[in-house]
Symmetry: D2
Subunit: 356 residues, 4 copies
């Protein structure tokens, strides 16, 4: 089988850069087209991008011309492109992604625009691969040849993955989550140095709402062509700290039944999903790494585990204020597992399940 042609739309931001970086070495996908906003169109990718991952973009793509974000252009300039990875801002994604879907592309999006649309799968391969069944409903209802699937908000993914085995094994009643998020999550120009230096910014626009709603869709059940939301509550407080990459989240969870800390560790460690079963190329061997050290996970040390695709959980302990309460920390690489890698893993799942 030849490689599948793919495009990255919105390729100059941090998430776009991560997508490009991961796709240049991808065993299944052939990155043929890169698009960005008007001010970049016509430039070479290396000149249009303030590349922040390393010294410069991969040699395979740095000379690429940046094209317009238009399905006709992508179709014309690419060679049988089937998948479009979207890293464009949400308000633009709202207009543009449907155009790509209606032209027959499979859109694997990191934008928030359609995450909560009832016909759009909001997918983490290890957690809710069956939600892909919404694709047929979506195509029928929208009358599109292609379709859109989305990954969750970066902080949501890092939370939802460890919640899945907890929900399945012990039930969940209430979750409080307080985040310490990296500056890369705000994009290349999202935060001024003068604002965050020697500081914490205790507000991230829209983040708490996303964390309080998205996991309930992801952990919900597909019933009668609809996602029935999971039945527990999440309350979030989101904060930006001075780390480069890696969102760290402190969780207080109230389970439905009592259990030992050993049981909790065991179900987290044992957790695997379809991504592992099928050994998808970007899937971590262990979606959750449980660390025993008293002071882990730490962003700088743990964010790159399994190429940035594993979630690291640590400090799992009883909440003495609540017999069914546990506390722990969860950490993931926000622009890999929480964004670019998530859309790529989703696309790998699409291929494996024959949606592409």
């Amino acid at each position: 089988m030849g490689k599948i042609g793919v495009a990255v739309i919105g390729a100059t931001g941090i998430v776009g850069q991560r997508m490009v970086n991961m796709l240049t070495k991808h065993p299944w996908f052939d990155l043929q087209v890169i698009t960005a906003s008007d001010k970049s169109v016509g430039k070479k990718y290396k000149n249009a991008t303030k590349w922040v991952i390393s010294a410069e973009p991969p040699s395979e793509v740095k000379e690429y011309a940046v094209l317009e974000t238009d399905p006709k252009v992508v179709e014309h300039e690419g060679n049988n492109i089937k998948i479009v990875f979207s890293a464009i801002p949400s308000q633009i994604a709202r207009e543009i992604e449907p155009k790509f879907a209606s032209e027959g592309f499979a859109v694997s999006s990191n934008a928030s625009a359609y995450r909560m649309d009832p016909t759009v799968p909001l997918v983490i391969p290890e957690v809710n691969p069956d939600h892909l069944k919404l694709i047929d409903i979506q195509k029928e209802l929208k009358g599109w040849d292609g379709f859109i699937i989305t990954d969750p908000n970066c902080s949501t993914i890092i939370l939802a993955i460890p919640l899945k085995p907890l929900l399945d094994n012990f039930g969940l009643e209430r979750v409080y989550v307080s985040t310490m998020q990296a500056i890369s999550g705000a994009g290349l120009s999202g935060i001024f140095a003068m604002s965050i230096f020697d500081n914490v910014i205790p507000y991230i626009s829209g983040e708490e709402e996303k964390m309080e709603t998205e996991p309930l869709k992801i952990l919900g059940s597909l019933k009668n062509k609809n996602i029935e939301k999971a039945n527990f509550t999440i309350s979030a407080s989101c904060h930006r700290v001075t780390t480069l990459e890696g969102h760290l989240e402190a969780i207080f969870a109230s389970l439905k039944r009592e259990c030992t800390i050993e049981e909790v560790k065991n179900v987290l460690r044992a957790f695997k999903g379809i991504a592992q079963k099928y050994s998808l190329p970007s899937a971590p061997k262990n979606p959750i790494i449980v660390r025993e050290e008293i002071d882990r996970p730490q962003p700088r040390l743990d964010r790159d585990a399994e190429n940035g695709m594993a979630i690291t959980v640590g400090r799992i302990r009883a909440d003495k204020s609540n017999p069914r309460g546990i506390k722990f920390l969860t950490l993931g690489h926000n622009t890999i597992r929480g964004a670019a890698g998530a859309t790529i893993l989703n696309a790998e799942l699409l291929v494996k399940m024959n949606y592409v």
Copy 2:
């Protein structure tokens, strides 16, 4: 009235430095004696100290000889010293503070050693000044001429002050608190740059236990010569981030009765205590500053409010997951309001209430 002679024991660490700094300009207290551990004894204070507040120690004290931490020495070298401010490590405080108390000194301590001792007041002047009545019980039981009073852990103070008006006005059921604490809280040599740079350290030894127990004593009631603990639960998760000063804490509180966010803001803004009533020299005019901006409090901007003695609260909002739930952030200067300033304000209260 002449000034009251005071000493600082353990004066070379960060909290000791802050004490010295605040006492050199104090209207009531005359700093006469500075002590530290053996390796500093005999040196000039400026040479014994790695001063981190500014370019060098205040000119009034920089030439002082550092003395031994011994009540006889303090008595002999000072001139009628009545109050001893203790910034010595807790395990040493356990041995030494009683010696000072038995020699007749009033010890205002920042050490944790005796905080939970049932005869020792754990005091925030704005919150529980009546707990000072334990002093007479303490003196009688221990047979001391002097006594020990303590301030709470730095994170505890920043939490307990806003909890006080909430408890009094709405009742409290459950509190979850997730902290983002400054590096100064670990002392001069507590954290290596290689450990915390581009990182968060999600563990602070003993901190969660302190935050979960101390506020219940502080917010408890003195009944029959005993403190009856406050009747709600606290669960804490403590984390170190890269800020210099200022502990920021995200709070999820479940109140006893429903109320509006405006009511919450009003009771926090209206809150005053005896420190304000008597205009104690180190008391902030407003113990709690409520900010309306969407992204405050911030450590760098808000920690110095009212000379570092005010607590700043912000982002007060409803917790949609709980009809009686609110969320907010609280911030204070950990080495001033949370440590040195706390012991000094406590001593001012002692003077005002005629315990010294």
Copy 3:
């Protein structure tokens, strides 16, 4: 004598904020008018400004309306304003400052637009107060009722002050300077966190040119209505590091005659200027503080010396590669001594010398 009415134009940036902050407590000046760019006009100052010095602007000015940067408006809204402090961007200053000067205002500017204009004094009160004599020439040539004086670039001031006594006492042949400059020097929105975190940015637009030319004008002599430039060379390399405030500069200087390190320290320590002689309100008692510690000056510890108005010099040592060479470090608070405080001290000198 009543206070002299003053205005700050361009008051919302970091330097404007520092000017406002210093002027609200000023013994000679009465800050009556604040102006900024169109998008701020009509707002209250507290709302127009992203205040970064502390929790919020001083209460004296936070309710001020921000006015248009227009001499007619300043004249009309103020009450006999005589001095205008300019913190506006250089390209705008080029248009606007002459309008203020021609309307009769004394403009004390931090902008670079007119620094190298042969009729405009580029003044550091301790170094070249006699250059103020250019004012009369300027007024005559330009036909203005008022005039413009300028302060040097922030890095220049921190270099030029210690060079002055070296030049006077030993002569200077060649100076190499390598800077480590704080992020505040780039303004509120000058640097993205993603750009500088865990990084050094080894380029600051225009900075090296300023450092290589401005000191030669400042240290030059007024002869026949012209500044004859000082006769030595400066070569600069400028770099941005992650400190909040305080530019640190490593100097390699080749003197005209050999001398001992003690001699160098002595002339630096003994250095005083007219600002000290007249005890101008913002003048530091010691313009140069010489520190003996092996690892000083340090930005965080030394930038605030004498309210941020003293320069701290340290590590003065022989350059073994050159018999007439010395090496040292110089440090100053870039937005106080290097900017806002410099314009205010210049204005104080204007008043003292009866130019206002």
Copy 4:
């Protein structure tokens, strides 16, 4: 050919960790033995080490027992070990390295103890491979079966590599260098967070002396069994900034003859050495990468170029104060190219040249 057995002595510090990390994947070397100081002996490597490169030590070595730093132990526990990589502190290296050499090991050391010993090669493979000829002189004079070779100080390497083609092509007269060095250079526990946060520490013990002397030996010529030092001067000023890895150095160089900036770029770009000629496994394809962007090299972006083994040079420009002067910045990964990678590349050269 089977792999050559090697040991790392002093394997728990940052440089030791980097050595272990690079050797676990090495095509020629088989890491058999790890040693460290007494407090680590007998522990598993993963427990003895505060690993800071990633989540944990490579799986190949993390269960290794840490052995005593003793040639007999290394001999006994290893299987025909020929090369010992030394990352032990210099004062201990002074005692221990000769013991290993006398037992017949080839010691490739990162310690400074023997760098300036006239019989010990101080080698950068791209610069002075012929200095290995000192090995025979050393063995004869010391009466050892084995020998010691050393790599230069981290800052020295980053300076000496670009100086080599400049010296060969244009001659060198005078070099001034001002460094901005990463915290990793001080080791795991070398700098407290409270010391360097929001700060620059303008002093690094012994560093300036090393930078002023080592390059003259490296760039010197082997004549009559002695190294005749290179005939130009270096003056250094060394400073620690808050970056994790990557030393950045600002250079002011006075050449022997005038040349254009293009010529300088060309000779730097064209520079190759024996490491490239023989394609040694750890050798970068391009020892010097010349960047044209106005603001490069930058530590975070450029330190990892060619697996951290390339030096990146940028901002090459004329020094207007000196007709034969040029200015530029040079940057390298201090714990890879500047330390661990340097000792490994040196050992690869030893093998290639049949010294092992």
